[in-house]
């Protein structure tokens, strides 16, 4: 540690450049991870807020909420407890003169069931009639306010915004919570259909109907349109970035070590044990990576403060911490690569001929 700190102190510019490079790598990985997390959470925010464990869908819907319909006959023999809720989903475009159109996900709920009961509003109140809606805060960001009346698709009914909820997104679109009867109206369904799905907080909930099938939440989420492809893309990007970082950091540390071999040969001739030199190299790498990581974290936090809310970014501390630990391990591996050079340094090389 003594040698590593002294060298950094003496060679401020050189090590400053290396730390700057690590800062950029950390910053890039953190921002990409946050964007990936943000986009991922915009797919599932609403689902996450329900704390559901399973979902019952039409067996032929290909695990797609928008393709699923549950008939009254199917629903008739299903006993719903306080842990189950019926939802009716419709993709809608919300329109109001003078405002931007909002492509949204309408979710019809029953006021007596847990999703509606557990909604946490940031302003306004829950719905009292089938012409009232509670909407995601994206609407507020786009200028909509409480009391605004809007149309959904070609439905002539005017729906009044009575409340706003935070983080209510499904498949990246803002959610509009309304009454289940409104869903039937929007979808132009006759009374034959009762909803799109039944969600349950019970992982083992069964519908007892051969036309219906229960899926776990993770299976359902993985089948959301584009969700898996999007996440895989980000995971690969971040993975490749980590591998490239490892190579870049390792190359830098290797070059640094080669430059120091002459000094290490002198120290070995003087009897300084190899483990002291190896320790100095490893501790220096860790100091550089942690230094870069800290500055990268501060930059990321500063970015989080100034970035517009329209950009989906999510700063998940446990995941970012894991990425940080990954980078430290990367630095450690990078430092270990030239260790063999240090162990094999020949002190004789510094004795003149």
């Amino acid at each position: 540690m003594f040698l590593s700190l002294k060298e950094i102190k003496k060679e401020k510019f050189r090590y400053g450049l290396i730390v700057a490079m690590i800062v950029m790598i950390c910053y890039l990985i953190f921002i990409l991870t946050s964007l990936a997390m943000g986009l991922s959470s915009q797919n599932t925010d609403a689902i996450d807020s329900w704390n559901m464990k399973s979902i019952v869908l039409d067996k032929d819907s290909n695990t797609s909420l928008s393709q699923s319909l549950i008939t009254k006959d199917q629903r008739k023999n299903i006993k719903l407890t306080k842990n189950e809720a019926l939802i009716g989903q419709a993709s809608v475009v919300a329109k109001k003169s003078g405002y931007a159109k909002e492509s949204s996900q309408f979710l019809g709920l029953s006021k007596k069931q847990f999703i509606s009961k557990n909604l946490v509003l940031t302003s306004g109140h829950k719905i009292n009639s089938n012409h009232q809606i509670v909407v995601d805060e994206k609407f507020k960001t786009d200028g909509y306010k409480l009391g605004d009346k809007l149309n959904l698709n070609s439905d002539k009914t005017k729906y009044t915004i009575v409340g706003f909820v935070k983080n209510a997104k499904l498949n990246i679109a803002p959610v509009i919570y309304g009454d289940i009867t409104a869903w039937q109206s929007i979808k132009n369904l006759n009374g034959q259909f009762t909803g799109s799905a039944i969600v349950s907080k019970n992982a083992n909930f069964k519908a007892n109907n051969e036309q219906l099938e229960t899926y776990s939440t993770s299976t359902f989420i993985s089948k959301l349109p584009g969700y898996s492809a999007q996440n895989s893309t980000f995971i690969f990007m971040i993975g490749f970035l980590m591998v490239i970082s490892l190579i870049v950091i390792a190359v830098f540390l290797y070059i640094l070590t080669i430059q120091k071999l002459q000094n290490y040969a002198v120290l070995r001739a003087q009897g300084i044990p190899a483990k002291t030199l190896v320790g100095a190299t490893i501790s220096q790498s860790i100091i550089l990576v942690i230094g870069g990581l800290l500055i990268g974290t501060i930059l990321t936090a500063a970015t989080a403060l100034i970035i517009p809310t329209s950009i989906p970014m999510s700063f998940d501390i446990p995941i970012l911490s894991s990425v940080g630990i990954g980078l430290i391990l990367t630095g450690l591996i990078g430092a270990l690569i030239p260790i063999k050079l240090i162990l094999n340094v020949d002190p004789v090389s510094v004795i003149g001929g």
Partner: protein, 229 residues
Amino acid sequence: MTTLQLKNINKYFGSGSSRVHVLKDINFTAKKGEVNLVLGPSGSGKSTFLTIAGGLQTPTEGSVELEGQALKSLSNKQRDALRLNKIGFVLQAYNLIPYLTVKEQFKLVTKVKKEHNLDDKTLDSLMDQLGITDLENKYPGELSGGQNQRVAIARALFTKPDIILADEPTAALDSERVAEVGKIFQTLAKEQNTAVVVVTHDLRLINFADNVYEIMDGNMSLNNSLKAG
């Protein structure tokens, strides 16, 4: 009392037709309280002799004993410890760490060898004697060649070694400083009962030596007659 003894040392480099016989049947003894000068031109084998004496290389044939201990029987770790505790190396070049100040060169040693180093008072006195007292916060890059060499000497003496092995310690010094270094080696040998071995081609050190050896084409011979001249 014998500190270092080399018996029947032969060293070959290479193999087959390119095999070179660098040291030829060398016998050498360094005793406590004596300064031994090994004179020879470049390529004569004097550096190979020094590295073998310091346990940095092993001879092809023969044995090296330091304080009665055969170096052959020691592990690498034990050789490290031996060099750190019993041998003070003064090297010709690159002998100071460029990112440590003069003061920190000594501090590094205390990090590894925590005891039996020079106390602060003695170190101050030694630095004063070498004319480097004011340099303690300077980096090697800020020092002249001569100053660097004097710091390197102080660094080697800091561990209170049983033997000093010096490789061209006066290469960058003017005659006045050469005399000071010669006196320091003499004082060290006489007052601290240390054995000193200096390999050099600097004839200005001859008069500070108790024994003068000549090495030529791998053959070593005692030639104290050079002192009179």
